[in-house]
Symmetry: D2
Subunit: 389 residues, 4 copies
C-alpha cells in the first residue's frame, strides 16, 4: 500500500513558490488552478537545459481588412534545441493527431530520427517564407556554400484577426525570432507565432510548462511549448471543471476550427522511437482541457531530446550513446500529459483581449470568473490543497 | 451567439430514462455520473444496428495457483460487425496508442481497409488458440475447403487473477462466444475476455456505451466496447473529479501494468482512412478517465463501419458506396470521445469484487463512495442538471 | 494454362507506333529499350485525362559560382490533377521510401485522403517560396480573402549545377509553371524542376510514362512523372542489362546523393488507402533501374486519382462514389512498376549534357552506346521482339 | 573518378569458392547466376554471429484431400536472433509492402523497438498454435509463472499442396523447430515453413543469403532468410534476364497469389528506426526478381540487429549502446537488396518438384534451362566475369 500524501505537500508548496510571469502577469497556477506534478524553475520549455525560445511579434494597424495592408496580428516563434550557439542535431520524432495543418521537415525527421536545426512556428500562409529563411540563416551560420537543410516549420491559422493573405511575415522576421532566442522565462500569450491565435474561443497563443521528475525517477525535465489555436468554448475544461459551459458568452465560432502545435523537449536520453512515444501522449494532455481534435484542427507535435549530442553530430561512423529503457518511461509519459495540459491553460491565462481585422474582437479568459468557478466546484488549489494526480 | 441550454435538458431527461443493466445492476449514469451526449437505446455497442456481442466466461477453482489446474478467471468476447448470420466484411481501421499488446490481423486491415470476420478479445496467452479457432469457424460457416482468413484477435493480461499459463481457453470457448453473440443489452464487468481484468486498481473488465448524433448531425450511432485492464488508482478521474485520489485504499499495483482494447462501431458511411480518424480519438476519451498510457499497456483500438456493405463484399470490380465528408465528422469525433469515456466507467461500475489465484483479491469500485465524492465536488448529475460538454 | 504470346505482339507494334518526343528527340523506346505493358497515346502522365503539366525553366550564366548571381540551372514543375480550370480536389496518398527530402502538405493528405491543389516540384531550397506562391495563386483563383491552403511542394537538390543558395526561384516562376500547364506531350529532361538534376551520374531531370490497362482490366490509365536526381553510375540497369557497369566513364560522385520525386496519376476509382498501395509499389519500379535508395536520397511519392470528383468536392454531407475492389488492383500495380521504370529511363534519355556552376559538367546518357550494350546482351527490342513481362 | 574494376575480380573469385549446399545440391551461384556483393561463409542468415535457424518439416500422405487427414505438406521454421541459449532481446523493426498476411507481435515491436524471442514462420492457418506454443516454450525456459510474451509468428499460404484446413501443425512442431535451431548452413527449399510453398509458379520455400561488407564499410554482415511463396511465372527475372518469359510451361496460377516473409539479421549497431530503413529496402531486392507485390500477397518483413545486447536486456535504467550513423548505411542498404534477391533465387534453386493434395504438382526450377537462358543473354557468370553491380 502506498500513500500519495507527500506529493500533495510538495505540490502545494510549489504553487506558492512559482514566480509570476515576465511582466508580473499571473500564470495558471497563480489563479489557484490545481496541476499535478513538479515543474522546473521557470515552468517552461527552457527548463530543459540548452533550449532557447525567441519570438518576433507583428502587430500593426486596425479596422477594416485590406489584403496586403493589414491589420497585422501575427509573428514567428523559434525553438532552438541547443540554443543559437550550438546547432548540432538532436534526436527527434513527431506525431499528428489530426493533420489539418503543416509541419515541414517531418519526412526526414521520421527517416533519420534526427532534428537538424530549430523548430519554427508561424501562421499558415507564412510557412514557406520562414522555411527558406531558416535555410538562408543556417547557410550563413555554417559558412558553407554547399549546405542544405530541410527545416521544421509548423503553423496555425490566424486569419480571424490577421491579414493572413497579406503575407506580412518576411524572412527578416524569422531571423529576428531566431536571434532573439534565449533561455529563462518565456513570454506567453499574444507573442510570436501565437500573436493572433484563438483557443476555446478565448484569446490563445503561446503557452509553456515543464515537469521535473524526482531523483528516483531520473531527475529528467520535460518541457512543452504550445501554439494554441483550437477548441470550442463549450468543450473547455480546467482541472476537470466545465469552465467552458459556465462561461458561455463572448463566443466566436459556429463550428470548430483552429489547431495546436506542440513542441516537447526533454533531457532524458531517449531514442527516436521513444520520443515518438512521448509525442503520441500529447493528445492525452490536450484531452484534459476538453479537446476532441476537430476536423479543422492541425494538431501536430514534435518531441526532441537534448541528450546524446555526441551521437547525433556523428563525427565517426559508430557513436556511443545512452538510452533510457522503455520500462522506466512512465514518469516521462506522466510529465508529458501534465505539462501539455498546463501549457495550454497557461496560453489562455496569459493571452490578452485582442481586436484584429474588421474589428473582430476575441476576449481574454476572465481570471476572476475562472477562480470563482473553481471555487464553486471545490477545485481551487489554495482552498483544497489536494490537486488531482 | 449560440446557447447550449437545450442540450442540458435533453441529457438530464435521458439520465432518468436510461434503464438499469441486465440483472438490474446500476450503470455509471445510474450513479449520477454526468456524461455528455445522447446514448442509444441500450447505451451499448449493439446500438449500431447489426452489431452482436457474445461472451464465454470461464470461472473455476480457488486458492493457490497450480499451473494448468487453475484457478481460472478468464474468457473470450466476440464482436460481430453484422451479426452471426452476415459475415460480409466491413470497412475498418486500427490505431495503437501504446503497443504493449497484440491485435492480430491488423496488417491486412491496414492494407485492405476491410475487416473480414469478427473481432475477438481474450487473455494475452490465448490469442493464438482463439485466432485459429476463428479460422476453423469461418471455414465451417463458408463450407469451402480453400477458405482462408486473417482473424482479428486482441488481448489484455489477466495473470494476477487467472492461471494464464495454464492455457485454459480452448477453441470451443471461442466458438461459444461467437455462437452466443446477440444484439441488445451487453453484459458488462466480469464477463468474457474481461473476466479477470483490473482497471485503475479496481476490478475492471468489459464495458460499453454509445452515442446517437442529432438528426441534423446525420443521426449516426457510435458504439464502443472496451476490455479495460489499465491504470493506477491515483490516476482515476470520473467526470473530471479526482476519484482515485479520494479512494486510495485497496490498491493492487506498485507500478502501472495492464492494457485496454477498444472496439468502436458506427453506422456512419466512413472510408477506412476516416475510421482511423475515429480510432485515433479513442485516447482522448481514455484521457478523461485519467490514463497516461503506461509503458506496460497494450492500448490498441479498432473501428469499423457497418455502412457500405455492398462495396465491401465486392461482387463486381467497381462498387458504389457512400462517404461522409471530412468536414462533417466532428459529431463523430465527439461521440467517440464521450462513448469511450463512459464505456470505461461502465466497466468499473459493473465489475464486481473478485478473488483469483493465490487469493489475490481485487475490489469493485464502491458505488456509494463515488456518489459521495461526486457530491462533494458538486458534480453529481441529479444535483447539477448540468453535465459537462 | 495460359499463353502470354499475344501480349508480345501488341507491345512490339506499339514500339513502332510510339511517336518521337516534342522536338523530335528520341525517347527510351525509340532506342530499342524493351519495356513491358502498353502505354497511353503520349506515354506521359497527361494520358490520364485532365492532368496538366507545366514547367518554368531557369537557365542563366556560366562559370564560377557567385552566390546570388549564378550560374542558374533550376526551375519549377507543376502537375495539376484536373488542369488549371478545375481545382476541385482529388483522392490522394503518399509514401516515403527514404525521407531525405521534403514534400510539404502530406500531413493533411494523409489525414483527409484528399489532394487539394497542384503538386509542385522544384529545388530543395525553393520549396518555401513555391509553397507560399501556390497559396497566393489559389487565393486569387478562388477570389476569397479567407481562403487557406496546405500546398504539396516537393524537391530534389541541384546544388552541383545550380546556385541553389542564391534562391533564384521566385513566386513568379511558380505561377509561370502553373499557368503553362497543358495536357498532351510533356517536355522531359532539363526542364522545370528537373533542369539541374543528375541521375546515375548522367544528366537527369523530368521523365514521364504511362500504361493503359486492357479493357478486361478496366481500361484504366496510370501515368507517372519523375524528377530523377539519384543513383550511382555502377547501379544503373536498363531492361535488366548492367549499363552502368559498361559505361563507367564521366562519373560525378564519390558517394550516392540525390533523390527522386514521383507523381502518379490514375483515373481508376481508388480510395485513398488504395492509392497508398500504388505509391508503395513505386520503389519496385525504381529497383528495376538499379536503385538501392541511398541515405542521401529523398525518395518521396504521391499518387492521386482523378475519379470521384463529385465525392471529393463534397457539396453535401454524404457523397456517392465508386471504388475498384482490392482484388482487381493487380493490373494497376503492374502498371505502376512499369511506368515508373520507363519514366526514369525517359528522363535519362531526354536530358542533355549540361555545364553548371564552377564549370561542373554532367554528361547525357550516350544513346549509341546504350543501343550497343543492349545488343550485346541480346536485349534490344527490334532484335528480340520479346520484351520482358 | 573511380574505377569499379577490382570488385569484379573479387566477385568472380568468390563464385568459384562458394561451397555447394548441405547435401551437395547446387545453390544459385553454382548455376553461374551472377550476383553482386560478397557473401558470408555460408551465404546464409546464420553468417550473422549468433543467429540460429531450425526447421520442422511435415510431409505425409498423398492423393485426394481429406480435410484433417491430409495430404500434409507444411512445417515450421524458427529464427533465433541469439540462438537457443540466449533469449535476450534484440533491436528490431518491421515493414509491410503488401499486408495480405500475418505477422503477430509487430505492434509491440514497433512501439518498443525490441524483438523479444524468436521469429517463427509457418502456414497461414497455424499462426495461432505456433504463437501460443512459443509462449509456452518461453515460460518453460524462463521458469517463471508470471512470464508473458507477444511472439512474432508469420505465415504464407500452402493450401495448394497442403491440407491447410486440417490444422496439422501442433505445438510440438513449433518446439521441434526451436530445439532444432543451429548455426551454420541452412537447409533450403522444401523445408520448415517453406515445405509447401510456390514461387513464380515453380516450387518455392525457404531460401537464404548474406553479404559481408568490406572492412572499410565496417565489416558488418547482413543475412536474409525468405519463405518465398509469390509471383507469376511471366514476372520472373534472374540477374535481369526474363527467365519467366522463356520458361512458360508448367504454370500453376490464373492470377497472382501467395506471399513472402523476409527475416533480415545484421550485426551492425543499428537503432530500431534504422532497422526499419533496412526493412523498407527489402522490396528493392524482391523487385529484381520481378515482383509487383500482388493484392493477394502478404509481403511482410522483419529486421533485427544482434548488436547492443547490453542495452536491450536493460538491467539498469540507462544503458550504453552504439549506433552506426545514418550517413554510413549505404553499404547495408546495398547488402539488403542483394541478399534479398539472392535468397529468393536460392529458394527456387533448392526447392524440388512436389506433389501435394489432389495430386497437384509443382515443378522445380529446371537448372539446365536456367543456365542455357543465362548464356543466351550473355549473363552466365563464368562466361562474363562481370556481374552486375
Amino acid at each position: 500500500m502506498k500513500t500519495v500524501l507527500p506529493r500533495f505537500i510538495a505540490v502545494s508548496l510549489l504553487i506558492v513558490l512559482t514566480p509570476l510571469s515576465l511582466e508580473g502577469k499571473p500564470r495558471a497556477r497563480d489563479l489557484g488552478i490545481p496541476f499535478a506534478g513538479t515543474p522546473g524553475s521557470h515552468n517552461a520549455i527552457t527548463d530543459v537545459q540548452g533550449v532557447e525560445v525567441g519570438h518576433a511579434t507583428l502587430i500593426a494597424g486596425q479596422g477594416k481588412l485590406k489584403v496586403g495592408e493589414g491589420p497585422v496580428r501575427t509573428g514567428v516563434t523559434a525553438v532552438l534545441p541547443r540554443g543559437r550557439s550550438d546547432l548540432r542535431p538532436a534526436f527527434g520524432a513527431w506525431f499528428s493527431l489530426n493533420g489539418n495543418g503543416e509541419m515541414t521537415g517531418t519526412t526526414w525527421l521520421e527517416e533519420s530520427g534526427v532534428l537538424e536545426g530549430p523548430v519554427m512556428v508561424s501562421n499558415t500562409h507564412s510557412v514557406g517564407i520562414v522555411r527558406d529563411a531558416v535555410i538562408e540563416w543556417l547557410v550563413k551560420k555554417s559558412g558553407s556554400q554547399q549546405s542544405w537543410a530541410l527545416p521544421i516549420v509548423a503553423e496555425t491559422f490566424d486569419g480571424w484577426l490577421n491579414d493572413i493573405n497579406g503575407f506580412h511575415v518576411k524572412a527578416a522576421h524569422a531571423w529576428q525570432a531566431l536571434e532573439a532566442a534565449t533561455s529563462g522565462p518565456v513570454p506567453e500569450g499574444n507573442v510570436g507565432g501565437g500573436t493572433g491565435m484563438i483557443c476555446y474561443e478565448f484569446k490563445g497563443g503561446i503557452g509553456t510548462s515543464s515537469r521535473r521528475l524526482s531523483e528516483k525517477g531520473g531527475g529528467y525535465v520535460v518541457g512543452v511549448l504550445v501554439q494554441a489555436n483550437f477548441g470550442l468554448r463549450s468543450q473547455l475544461q480546467i482541472a476537470g471543471v466545465p469552465v467552458g459551459v459556465e462561461i458561455n458568452d463572448g463566443l466566436v465560432w459556429s463550428k470548430e476550427t483552429g489547431s495546436i502545435i506542440v513542441v516537447l523537449a526533454t533531457d532524458a536520453p531517449l531514442l527516436p522511437h521513444q520520443l515518438k512515444r512521448l509525442a503520441r501522449r500529447i493528445p492525452l494532455g490536450m484531452a484534459r482541457t476538453g479537446s476532441i481534435s476537430g476536423n479543422g484542427s492541425g494538431d501536430i507535435f514534435i518531441a526532441f531530446s537534448t541528450a546524446n549530442v555526441e551521437a547525433t553530430e556523428a563525427k565517426e561512423a559508430v557513436a556511443s550513446l545512452r538510452m533510457l529503457r522503455n520500462s522506466d518511461m512512465n514518469g516521462l509519459f506522466e510529465a508529458t500529459v501534465q505539462a501539455t495540459e498546463e501549457a495550454i491553460i497557461n496560453a489562455l491565462v496569459a493571452a490578452e483581449t485582442m481586436t484584429g481585422i474588421n474589428d473582430h474582437e476575441v476576449l481574454a479568459l476572465p481570471h476572476d470568473r475562472v477562480k470563482a468557478i473553481l471555487e464553486k466546484y471545490q477545485r481551487r488549489a489554495q482552498d483544497r490543497r489536494a490537486p488531482p494526480p
